[in-house]
Amino acid sequence: MNITEEQLINDVTKINLSGRMDIEGVSHIETKFADMTAAPRKGIIVDMSDVPYMSSIGIRALLINAKSVAKRGGKLILLNPEQNVKNVLETSGIDQIIPIYSDINEAIAKVSS
């Protein structure tokens, strides 16, 4: 897996994930993922559009980072997961606690508020 970041307006950080979000994939990105969501960052969009597969280890990685951001009063949301990955998020109920957006501008507005 690969992970990159870009800074958007309103101090929002967009994190771009790519590759299989399985045990091996998550092991490659977890340290950088934690660094990219660390203080003082509060508005985080995780772009999932290039993630073709996610298992529960991927959900775990998203939850860990979403919780740490929320603890500091910030927001982490997901952008454009592929349909199969979105099904996993919905089946596990994670979509109810980590919002999913398909429009980047709406996503920016959500994490900026």
């Binding site: 045990i23 091996e24 529960s56 775990r60 929320a70 089946t91 596990s92 606690i97």
Partner: protein, 138 residues
Amino acid sequence: MIEDSATFRLVIRNQFAELRPMSAWLSETIKAMGGSDENIFNFDLCANEAVTNIISYGYTDQGEHEIILDIAVSGDVLCLKIEDDGTPFNPLEKPEHISPHNLEEAQIGGLGVDLILKIMKECHYTRINGKNIFKMCA
């Protein structure tokens, strides 16, 4: 429509390094059987969850063990059977994971079995001759 098939078998070791080759085998095999992309994704996911649990929690020794995967089609039903010689574990007896209402109460981990039971249409477990045999069908 998936055609009736013979059983295809893969034997792996109890090591996480085997998971990606397992996924590749499942993808090729299900595709060859005429399965859909959704079948491939769902069986890949559920096999990964089941085998990860076996490797993580199934053994009390540090030794090498075999995990056997058999996949076959009958009618329109595709079934994957996973056999291991680990400690007894029936996934069907695991208490249902309750979806959290908010991020604060969300527990990290423990979602794997729940995903399998929700995604697969049918699951069966039996223990015979010291082996866990878990079958999932979609």
